[in-house]
């Protein structure tokens, strides 16, 4: 690995002894010998298997649930419905005061997406649990569903989630997150060119090699040990404590070993119901998503739509940017109100623009709830922004890399959400990229600096 010394030479230290040095990972000896203990490698005598009965409809009222046939199935030990869950309506971000609680652990009276958990079956073997789950009879009255964000926002659209009362998340700022900086309309009026484009993406599944799940063992002292592959250990512990109305001191979570997560294992989705099963039966319980569940049930990255309108001058300066972003939360909030909010802060991009207007909506539809995934809220936005940057450069006949140098933020520039820029290195990165990609730019850009005034 080559360390370039020509950047930040006057502000950086040269006595670093870790950067540039290979270090063995502490967990890889376990991985290559097969000794690493993933959650599913825990096995306990008498362990029960949990399988979910899931909604076959996108939106339906539940008229009745009949578990009598399933209960008679050989090997079935316990069947759980909504009434068994102490605090059945929850939302994971309540821990940071982002409510309302809008999701059920087990459906109560209604399902809002195809695949929603309705009844949990615990049996001696996986096969018995699966067969018994197929015998649970749920009588549904199918309701009209909405799958498109624009449709969902129209008056008269089917209401997806009554806990919100409308098909968007209500922020303290109103129906969307807003950023207002300068005078965007005046910026467009004074611009040489205005370009409006819209970009959209589909949901993306993380598809980790190890599926989501947990193994729970009741301890003799009324505590429960939960071996889990959550990426959000304490977050899961605290939410489980709320859902089960059980003090955190009764819950011992063991984890940190995750067979691929990519942000997809941060919803509190298997632990509460598995611990409840262990509590009510006194037996160890495992609840492991099948591959099909991992692909269809676990939350994906949200589908997004981004509409960007930019005002640009012939000399390359972007003078105004207006962005409307839509994040498809699916039927429940999970992490999406936060994702949409991140977008609001991010849409100006790493560029200094004097007039900015941003609205980002978190929209509810009858699709699989979306949640976190690597840079959620900003990754799709970056795709849209950088395609837009290329289009703007082409519009004014400028080299796309030089166009970015002109607009790149530098230390001290005020960002649209009113945080002054600090520690910027975009210009230096682009200078290096220009060399590495053999995409030369004019000398004046190679002389620019993120932090030297006037350069």
């Amino acid at each position: 690995m080559e360390l370039r010394k020509n950047y930040f030479a006057d502000v950086r230290r040269d006595d670093l002894h870790e950067i540039g040095q290979p270090r063995p990972r502490s967990d890889s000896p376990g991985h290559v010998t097969g000794k690493t203990a993933f959650f599913a490698d825990r096995n306990f005598p008498g362990m029960l298997h949990l399988k979910m009965v899931r909604s076959p409809h996108h939106h339906a009222r539940i008229r009745s649930i009949d578990t009598s046939e399933a209960e008679k199935h050989p090997g079935v030990v316990k069947i759980l419905t909504a009434k068994d869950v102490p605090h059945n309506v929850y939302t994971i971000l309540i821990l940071i005061q982002i409510g309302p609680e809008d999701e059920t652990v087990l459906a109560d009276g209604k399902v809002r997406w195809k695949g929603e958990a309705v009844v949990a079956v615990l049996a001696e073997t996986e096969r018995a649990a699966q067969e018994a789950a197929a015998k649970v009879k749920v009588d549904y009255e199918v309701l009209p569903a909405v799958f498109d964000m624009q449709e969902a926002l129209k008056p008269g659209a089917p209401l997806v989630n009554e806990y919100h009362g409308q098909n968007y998340y209500l922020y303290d700022s109103g129906e969307c997150r807003k950023v207002r900086f300068g005078d965007v309309e005046a910026g467009f009026t004074g611009a040489d060119h205005v370009l409006e484009q819209s970009y959209q993406s589909s949901p993306i599944e993380h598809a980790p090699t190890e599926t989501t799940g947990c193994v729970v063992a009741p301890e003799g002292n009324d505590r429960f040990t939960c071996y889990t592959n959550t990426q959000a250990m304490f977050f899961t512990l605290d939410n489980t404590s709320i859902i089960l109305q059980m003090p955190g001191s009764k819950l011992h979570f063991v984890g940190g070993t995750v067979g691929g997560g990519f942000g997809g294992k941060v919803d509190v989705i298997v632990e509460p119901i598995a611990i409840l099963g262990a509590k009510l039966t006194g037996r160890p319980v495992c609840f492991i998503y099948s591959r099909e569940e991992e692909m269809q049930i676990s939350s994906p990255r949200a589908a997004e739509k981004v509409v960007i309108k930019d005002g640009v001058m012939k000399d390359g300066r972007i003078v105004a940017r207006k962005v409307t972003g839509y994040t498809d939360a699916g039927a429940y909030s999970r992490h999406s109100p936060y994702g949409a909010q991140k977008g609001a802060g991010h849409y100006p991009g790493p560029y200094t623009i004097p007039n900015v207007w941003i609205d980002t909506y978190c929209v509810y539809t009858n699709r699989t709830p979306s949640s976190a995934m690597r840079g959620f809220g900003v990754t799709i936005g970056d795709f849209a922004l950088e395609v837009q940057m290329d289009k703007l450069a082409r519009l004014i006949g400028m080299d796309p890399l030089e166009f970015r140098f002109i607009n790149a933020y530098r230390d001290g520039d005020m960002k649209a959400h009113r945080q002054p820029t600090e520690g910027a290195a975009l210009i230096e990165c682009m200078q290096e990229a220009s060399r590495a990609a053999n995409w030369p730019v004019a000398e004046k850009y190679m002389a620019m600096s993120s932090y030297v005034k006037g350069a």
């Binding site: 290559v32 097969g34 993933f38 090699t209």
Partner: protein
């Protein structure tokens, strides 16, 4: 349900179990015998995490019935470094950062081992082909390919 007796050699030691008819070898190894090095990533033959070696051939243990393994000689990744010394493939996976979350690793090592057992000095294409039934979502495959090629190169030097 009627139990079926099955006896095989696992990593050099004799194992005998009674299994339900229809039990997969993956289930028998992990939940009955306690060798959890083969992993279940899909239970339907599409990820390769459950790969083991049966009588010298690479097999998906999730699609192999335990009862068909009577008398077989089975190897898994947990048996590769019995004496505490890492197998060259294990060493190479460490050194080239070919393992991130580690869930695919035992299956990958099995696939690589069968390749090198049959073809000690494979081409890059042969390595890619041999690993093509094993899914890794973390590494992007390149470090894994490099790990296998590193061992192949040292095989050919030793042979020379």
């Amino acid at each position: 349900m009627a139990k079926v007796p099955v006896q095989f050699t696992l990593n050099g030691s004799e194992k005998a179990e009674f299994v339900d008819s229809g039990t997969t070898l993956l289930h028998a190894l992990r939940d009955k015998i306690g060798d959890t090095s083969p992993k279940g990533g899909c239970h339907q033959g599409s990820c390769g995490a459950c790969s083991v070696i049966i009588d010298g051939e690479l097999r998906l243990s999730c699609l192999t019935l335990a009862e068909t393994c009577d008398g077989a000689v089975i190897s898994t990744t947990s048996g590769l470094s019995d004496s505490g010394v890492l197998h060259p493939l294990q060493r190479a996976f460490l050194d080239t950062f070919a393992t991130q979350c580690g869930f695919c690793t035992p299956g990958m090592i099995m696939a690589a081992k069968v390749l090198l057992d049959h073809t000690p000095n494979p081409s890059r294409d042969e390595v890619v082909e041999a690993l093509s039934g094993n899914i890794c979502r973390c590494t992007g495959y390149e470090p894994i390919i490099q790990a296998v090629l590193t061992v192949a190169r040292s095989n050919s030097q030793n042979a020379a």
